[in-house]
C-alpha cells in the first residue's frame, strides 16, 4: 500500500500555518510540492502563499462551489456497469499541480517526439511494414494485437498523417523522472475535461487564476481547430467538421458534447452519417450535407460495419472506402489502436532510432514483452515485483506480489500458453501531490495525462493537462469509474499571463441556416421523443399526485374514495380485490400506488423509467438545449435519484409535486429559450401529441368507462388538468359534464383542452420543413386535419345530455373521441416516415461474426 507507507514514514510539517500543517511528506519517494519534510520546492512558494491567505475553510467552501458547478453543468463520467446510476459526477480537486516551465519544455519535447514516432510507426505498419520485415518489431506483437486491422492496410492517401490527436499517460517515479505509462491513439479523451476543469476552477477561484503565471490553454485549442480544418480536401475556407460519438451511452459523452460545442463541430452519431458517391454526408431535415472532416470518438473496429466489425451499429457503412478515396479525413485514422499496445514500449528506443533517426527522449515505464524468451524468463523470475498486463484492449492486469498461489499458477500458465499477449511492467511508487481533504493538504499519488495535436510541422503539446489522484495501476477510465479525483495541471510561465476566456469563441465566418433545416434527422427524432417523455412524465406524475392526494384526504376526512379505482385504471395499475375493511382497502391501495414508485418497478407508470427516457433523449440532443434547461434536467435527475426507496404516501405526494414543478420549468424554459425552429417544433409536437392522447384517454375514462362515474371523478379530471380554478371562475357553478366537455374538449384557448392541443399541433406540423415542395398535404398534415375536423364538426348538443340521457350521449362521445384518436394514433408513424426515416439502421447482407 503506497498510501499507508507514506503516512507511516511521515514527519510533521512545521510551518505553523493550518493549511500546510502536518503535510506528511514521505522520507522516500517524491512529493511534487515538498523536496523534503518542511521544505517547499521553490515553484510552489507563490501558490502556497495565496492558498494560505485563502485558508482551509474558504478553500473547502470553494471546493463545494466547484462541485456544485460541475453538477449543474452536468459534467459526468458514465459507467457502463451501473445502469441505475449510470452517470457519475466528475470530481475536481481545487489545488492545482504545478510544473516549472523548464521541466515542461523538456517533457514536451519528449512527448512531441513520441507523437511523431507513433505516427511514423502507424504509417509503416499499414504500409511497407519495414519494422516487421527488418525485425525491429516482432510479428506476433503487432499481428497478435486486435488493434491491427488488415482492412486499414494502405487506407490513407500518401502524405496524410495517421495520428492527429495523441494522449499520453505519465507519472513521476521516486527518482524524479517522468515516464510514459501508455498511449491513447484511437480517440484520445480528456482534453475536454481539462478545459472544463480549468474554466470552472477559474470561476470558483478567481484570486488564484487571475493573472497567474501559468501557461494558458487557448492556443493549443486554436491549433486543434486549425488542424482539423486543414485536413479538409474540399471547402478549405469553411470545412464541415463533425465529431462522431458513440452517443449518450459513452462514458465520455459529456466531453464529446462539450468539445463539439467549443470547437463548433456538428455532434453526430453513426446513423446520422451516410456514404454516397464516395463521400460522407450528414442526414439533415433539409437533405444531405457533405462532411469534410470527422473527429471520431468511436473505437476503430466499430467505425465501418462493411469492412470492420459487421455487427457495429455505431459506425458508417463504407466509411473506410470513403477514406481511401481521400474524400473525407478522419482524426485519428482508422487502425491507430494498434499503437496503444503496451508491449510496444519495450521496442521504442530501437524504433525511434530506426524510424526517426533520433534517440528516444521520453522514457517509458520499464516493460518486458513476454513474447521474447529472455523477457518472458525475466518476468516469470521477477513476478513478485512486477505488474503483469494483458496487451489486449482494456485487458486485465495483475500485481505479481499480491497473487495467491493458485491465481499465480494460473497466470503463469496463461503467460506460457500465449506469451505474446502479456507484458511485465515495473510499478514504481508514484509521486505525490497535495490534495485538499478536510481543509488541509494531504499528499496523494498522482498521474498525468498530456495531450499533443498535429500541427504543420510536427506536434504541439498542451501546456498542462489532466492530473488525477491515482493508485497508478488503473487506466484513466478505470480510475474515474471508481470515482477518482482530477486536478488541474499548471505549467508555470515566467510572467503572469492574462486570463483569456476560453468560453465560446466563434471561429471563422458563421454559416448557418436560420430555419434549422440542417438539423440531423436523429436529433429531430430525439427532440420529438424528449417532448413525448416530458409530457408522459408530467401526465403520470399528475395522476399519481392526485391519487395520493385522494388517498390522504380519505384517511383524514373520510371523503368519497371510490374514484381511486378509476385513477388506478388511468394509471394502468391493477385495482386491488375488494377488501374486508376500509383500513385494509387503504393499505392495499397505498401499497399498489407506492409499488409503482419503487426504483426497481417495471411498471409503465414508473416515474424513474419515464425520466430515464427523458434523460436518454435529452442527452442525445445535449447541444440543442439551453444551459439552463440542461441544469433543470440535472436537478430533476438529482431529485428523482435522491427520493428514498421507502416512501410514505405524504412524502410521495411531495416528491411528485417537486418533479412536476421541475418538468414544467424544463418545458417552459425550452419554450422561452430554444429558437422556435425545426428542432423546437419537433419537441413541441412530441409534447402536444402525447398530451392530446392522454387527455382523450382521461375523457374516455371519466365519461364512458368509469367504474364510479359522477361528481368526484369529474373533479379529479379537472384537478389533474389543473382546470378546477378555471372552471369555477368561468361557470361559477357545480360541476356539470357539458361544461367540463366545453372547457376540456372544445375551448381552443385552454392549453389543457383537446381543441387547443389539436390547433397547436396543426400549426406546428404546417411549419415543418418539407424536402420537396408539393401542392398536396403531407401524411401528417392530413392526419391532424382529420382529427381537428372531427372535433370541429362535432355536435355539442348531442353531448349535452350526458347526465339524463347517458346512453345516447355516451355513444356520441365515444364516436367523437374515436374519430379524433384514430388519425392521431397514426401521426407518430407518419412523422417518423417523413422526417426521421433516413435514420434507418443499415445491416449486413450476411452475418459475418465468427
Amino acid at each position: 500500500m503506497i498510501e499507508a507507507s507514506l503516512i507511516q514514514q511521515a514527519e510533521p510539517f512545521q510551518t505553523g500555518n493550518h493549511l500546510l500543517a502536518d503535510y506528511p511528506v514521505a522520507a522516500s519517494g517524491y512529493d511534487e510540492m515538498c523536496s523534503m519534510p518542511g521544505e517547499l520546492r521553490p515553484h510552489w512558494q507563490a501558490l502556497t502563499e495565496i492558498l494560505e491567505n485563502i485558508g482551509g475553510a474558504e478553500l473547502e467552501r470553494r471546493h463545494a462551489e466547484v462541485q456544485r458547478l460541475l453538477q449543474t453543468d452536468g459534467v459526468t463520467y458514465n459507467t457502463y456497469d451501473d445502469p441505475q446510476d449510470s452517470q457519475r459526477l466528475w470530481r475536481v480537486d481545487t489545488i492545482p499541480l504545478l510544473m516549472t516551465g523548464e521541466e515542461w519544455t523538456s517533457l514536451a519535447a519528449g512527448m512531441e517526439q513520441r507523437s511523431r514516432l507513433l505516427d511514423a510507426l502507424l504509417a509503416d505498419l499499414y504500409g511497407p511494414r519495414r519494422a516487421i520485415r527488418q525485425g525491429w518489431l516482432p510479428t506476433e506483437l503487432v499481428f497478435g494485437h486486435p488493434g491491427f486491422l488488415p482492412a486499414c492496410h494502405q487506407s490513407l492517401p500518401s502524405g496524410r498523417r495517421w495520428l492527429i490527436f495523441h494522449a499520453i499517460d505519465l507519472a513521476r517515479g521516486p527518482d524524479g523522472v517522468i515516464r510514459a505509462y501508455g498511449d491513447r491513439a484511437q480517440s484520445p479523451s480528456g482534453a475536454g475535461y481539462t478545459l472544463e476543469n480549468r474554466i470552472l476552477l477559474a470561476r470558483a477561484l478567481p484570486m488564484l487564476y487571475r493573472d497567474a503565471p501559468l501557461r494558458r490553454l487557448a492556443s493549443f485549442l486554436e491549433t486543434e481547430r486549425a488542424t482539423l480544418a486543414s485536413l479538409a480536401r474540399y471547402n478549405p475556407e469553411t470545412p464541415h467538421v463533425a465529431l462522431l460519438t458513440p452517443g449518450p451511452s459513452s462514458p465520455v459523452y459529456f466531453e464529446h458534447a462539450y468539445l463539439a460545442n467549443y470547437l463548433s463541430l456538428s455532434l453526430v452519431e453513426g446513423e446520422d452519417l451516410v456514404v454516397r458517391d464516395g463521400r460522407v454526408w450528414l442526414k439533415t431535415l433539409g437533405g444531405l450535407r457533405p462532411v469534410d472532416v470527422i473527429l471520431r470518438r468511436v473505437a476503430d473496429p466499430l467505425c465501418d460495419p462493411l469492412e470492420l466489425r459487421g455487427d457495429s451499429l455505431l459506425g458508417v457503412p463504407g466509411l473506410l472506402q470513403a477514406v481511401r478515396g481521400g474524400h473525407v479525413a478522419l482524426a485519428n485514422a482508422l487502425g491507430s489502436g494498434v499503437v496503444e499496445n503496451p508491449g510496444l514500449a519495450a521496442f521504442f528506443p530501437l524504433l525511434c532510432r530506426q524510424l526517426l533517426g533520433e534517440e528516444l527522449k521520453l522514457p517509458s515505464l520499464p516493460t518486458w514483452w513476454c513474447g521474447t524468451p529472455q523477457d518472458r524468463q525475466y518476468v516469470l523470475a521477477h513476478l513478485d515485483q512486477l505488474v503483469v498486463r494483458s496487451i489486449l484492449p482494456n485487458g486485465p492486469h495483475w500485481e505479481g506480489g499480491r497473487l495467491d498461489g493458485k491465481t499465480r499458477q494460473q497466470l503463469i500458465e496463461q503467460i506460457q500458453s500465449a506469451p505474446h499477449l502479456f507484458v511485465g511492467q515495473e510499478s514504481p511508487p508514484l509521486s505525490t501531490a497535495p490534495v485538499l481533504e478536510d481543509g488541509r493538504l494531504t499528499p496523494r499519488p498522482v498521474m498525468l495525462r498530456g495531450f499533443a495535436v498535429a500541427a504543420e510541422d510536427g506536434y504541439r503539446v498542451m501546456p498542462g493537462g489532466l492530473a488525477r489522484v491515482s493508485t497508478g495501476l488503473d487506466t484513466l477510465q478505470a480510475a474515474l469509474q471508481k470515482g477518482g479525483i482530477s486536478k488541474d495541471w499548471w505549467v508555470l510561465a515566467p510572467t503572469p499571463q492574462p486570463h483569456v476566456s476560453l468560453l465560446r469563441q466563434a471561429y471563422g465566418p458563421i454559416v448557418a441556416t436560420r430555419d434549422g433545416s440542417d438539423l440531423p434527422s436523429r436529433v429531430a427524432d430525439n427532440l420529438f421523443w424528449l417532448g413525448r417523455y416530458s409530457e408522459r412524465l408530467d401526465g403520470t406524475a399528475r395522476l399519481l399526485r392526485e391519487a395520493f392526494g385522494r388517498l390522504l384526504e380519505w384517511e383524514q376526512d373520510n371523503t368519497d374514495e371510490r374514484c381511486l379505482d378509476d385513477l388506478l385504471d388511468a394509471l394502468k395499475i391493477p385495482v386491488p380485490p375488494v377488501a374486508e375493511s376500509a383500513r385494509a382497502r387503504f393499505f392495499a391501495l397505498r401499497q399498489a400506488l407506492l409499488a409503482v414508485l419503487a426504483p426497481q418497478s417495471e411498471h409503465p407508470s414508473n416515474v424513474r423509467a419515464l425520466f430515464g427516457g427523458m434523460l436518454r433523449t435529452g442527452r442525445a440532443v445535449r447541444n440543442h438545449l439551453g444551459d439552463d434547461s440542461w441544469r433543470l434536467l440535472n436537478r430533476l435527475q438529482h431529485s428523482i435519484q435522491n427520493t428514498p426507496a421507502d416512501l410514505g404516501g405524504r412524502q410521495a405526494r411531495e416528491s411528485l409535486e417537486e418533479y412536476l414543478m421541475l418538468v414544467a420549468a424544463f418545458c417552459g424554459l425550452n419554450y422561452e429559450t430554444m429558437p422556435h425552429h425545426q428542432g423546437w417544433l419537433f419537441f413541441d409536437i412530441g409534447r402536444y401529441l402525447e398530451r392530446v392522447l392522454r387527455t382523450l384517454d382521461l375523457f374516455k375514462l371519466a365519461f364512458i368507462t368509469a367504474r364510479h362515474p359522477g361528481l368526484p371523478l369529474w373533479e379529479v379530471v379537472l384537478a389533474i388538468t389543473d382546470n378546477l380554478t378555471a372552471y369555477r371562475r368561468r361557470y361559477r357553478s357545480a360541476l356539470h359534464p357539458t361544461a367540463i366537455i366545453d372547457l376540456l374538449l372544445f375551448d381552443t384557448d385552454n392549453p389543457r383542452s383537446v381543441g387547443y392541443q389539436l390547433r397547436r399541433l396543426q400549426r406546428d406540423i404546417g411549419r415543418l420543413h418539407r424536402p420537396e415542395k408539393s401542392p398536396y398535404c403531407s401524411a401528417e398534415e392530413r392526419l391532424i386535419l382529420e382529427a381537428f375536423t372531427a372535433l370541429r364538426l362535432a355536435d355539442i348538443n348531442a353531448l349535452a345530455t350526458l347526465t339524463h340521457d347517458s346512453t345516447r350521449s355516451s355513444v356520441e362521445l365515444t364516436r367523437l373521441l374515436e374519430a379524433i384518436q384514430k388519425p392521431l394514433s397514426g401521426l407518430s408513424e407518419a412523422l417518423t416516415h417523413s422526417h426521421f426515416s433516413h435514420a434507418e439502421v443499415p445491416r449486413q447482407l450476411i452475418a459475418m461474426q465468427p
Partner: protein, 298 residues
C-alpha cells in the same frame, strides 16, 4: 488446364433497399501456377461507383455501391483461368522435419519468413485451443517430414469427419465441428488450420473452386459446382504447400484459387451492408467449365 469460371450471386429482397455498400472477392488472384484473363463483371442494378484494389493479403477486392432503390442484386463474374499442371509441392516433394520448420519460423531473419508468422496466430474464425493440437499431435512424430505429417493429418480429417451440408453455418464454432465430426469444406479447412497452428506452424485459408468431373458417360451439369476451400501450410524458405482435407488430396489442376487469408472472414466472396430490404433470398451458382477447344487455339 483452362477453365471458364462463372460465379453468379443473386439476392432478392422483400422490400426495397435504398443503399448498399459491398465488397466482392470474386476476382481470382494471380499466382505462379495460375494465369487469369481479365474478368467480366456484371452487376445489376448498375453500381453508382466501383473500385478495385488489392487487400492486405494481396487478394483482388471489388468495392461497389448501389444508391438507387432496388429489390434485388445480381453479381456475375466470368473469368478465364489457366491452372498450370504443377504446384510448388506434390505429395512426393522432399520437405524438412516439422520441428525444423518450426525453428526456422521462429528464428529466421528472412522478411518473408518473419511475415509468414502472422499465419501461425489465432484468427477470428480459428481460435486456438489445446484440443486441436491434441487431435493433430499423433501425425507429428519427432523428425517426421512436414509434408508427410500434413498429408496424414489431411487424410485423418477426411476419414474422421462426415461431409454434411446441413449441420453447420458460418457461425458454428470449431470445437463443435471437432466434437460432432461433421461439417463442410470451410469447417474442415478451419479445423486443419487450428491443428497446424496448434502445432506452431503457419497455415492459411484458401478459397476457390473445384472442377467437378461428371461420372463417365454423363454430361457435365452447368452450375452444379460450388465454392470450395482448402488450406496451405508454410515451409520456411521453400513456400506454401496446399492441402484439401475435404477431398484428401493436394490441390492440382482442378483447384482454382480465388483468394487467401487467415480464415474465411478475410476472403468471404461477397459481403455487404444495406439499408432496408426486409428479408432476402439468396441464390448462388458456380460453373467451372473446361475449355478444350480454346486450349488448342492458344
Amino acid at each position: 488446364m483452362k477453365y471458364t469460371v462463372t460465379h453468379r450471386t443473386r439476392y432478392r429482397y422483400s422490400s426495397g433497399v435504398a443503399l448498399c455498400h459491398n465488397e466482392a472477392r470474386l476476382l481470382p488472384r494471380r499466382a505462379p501456377w495460375q494465369l487469369c484473363q481479365d474478368s467480366r463483371v456484371a452487376i445489376e442494378p448498375r453500381p453508382a461507383l466501383s473500385a478495385e484494389r488489392e487487400d492486405f493479403f494481396g487478394n483482388r477486392v471489388l468495392y461497389f455501391a448501389i444508391q438507387d432503390i432496388h429489390h434485388g442484386l445480381k453479381v456475375e463474374v466470368v473469368t478465364e483461368v489457366h491452372v498450370l499442371a504443377n504446384r510448388p509441392f506434390e505429395p512426393s516433394s522432399p520437405s524438412m522435419p516439422w520441428e525444423q520448420a518450426l525453428r526456422l519460423l521462429r528464428e529466421s531473419p528472412e522478411p518473408e519468413i518473419i511475415e509468414a508468422r502472422l499465419f501461425a496466430l489465432d484468427s477470428p474464425f480459428v481460435s486456438l485451443a489445446p484440443e486441436f493440437r491434441a487431435y493433430a499431435a499423433p501425425s507429428f512424430w519427432p523428425g517426421r517430414p512436414l509434408l508427410d505429417a500434413t498429408i496424414e493429418l489431411n487424410r485423418r480429417i477426411y476419414q474422421d469427419f462426415t461431409y454434411d451440408p446441413h449441420f453447420t453455418t458460418v457461425a458454428t464454432p470449431l470445437h463443435v465441428v471437432l466434437k460432432e465430426r461433421r461439417g463442410v469444406c470451410q469447417d474442415f479447412a478451419h479445423l486443419a488450420l487450428a491443428c497446424l497452428r496448434g502445432m506452431g506452424l503457419a497455415a492459411r485459408y484458401v478459397s476457390g473452386y473445384l472442377e467437378t468431373i461428371p461420372p463417365p458417360g454423363q454430361p457435365r451439369l452447368i452450375g452444379a459446382d460450388a465454392s470450395h476451400a482448402w488450406v496451405a501450410v508454410y515451409l520456411p524458405g521453400m513456400g506454401w504447400a496446399e492441402f484439401d482435407p475435404t477431398n484428401d488430396c493436394m490441390p492440382r489442376e482442378q483447384h482454382i484459387t480465388l483468394a487467401w487469408g487467415r480464415d474465411y472472414g478475410d476472403v468471404a466472396p461477397l459481403i455487404g451492408v444495406m439499408t432496408g430490404g426486409g428479408s432476402h433470398q439468396l441464390e448462388v451458382s458456380v460453373d467451372v467449365a473446361p475449355q478444350q477447344e480454346l486450349q488448342t487455339e492458344l
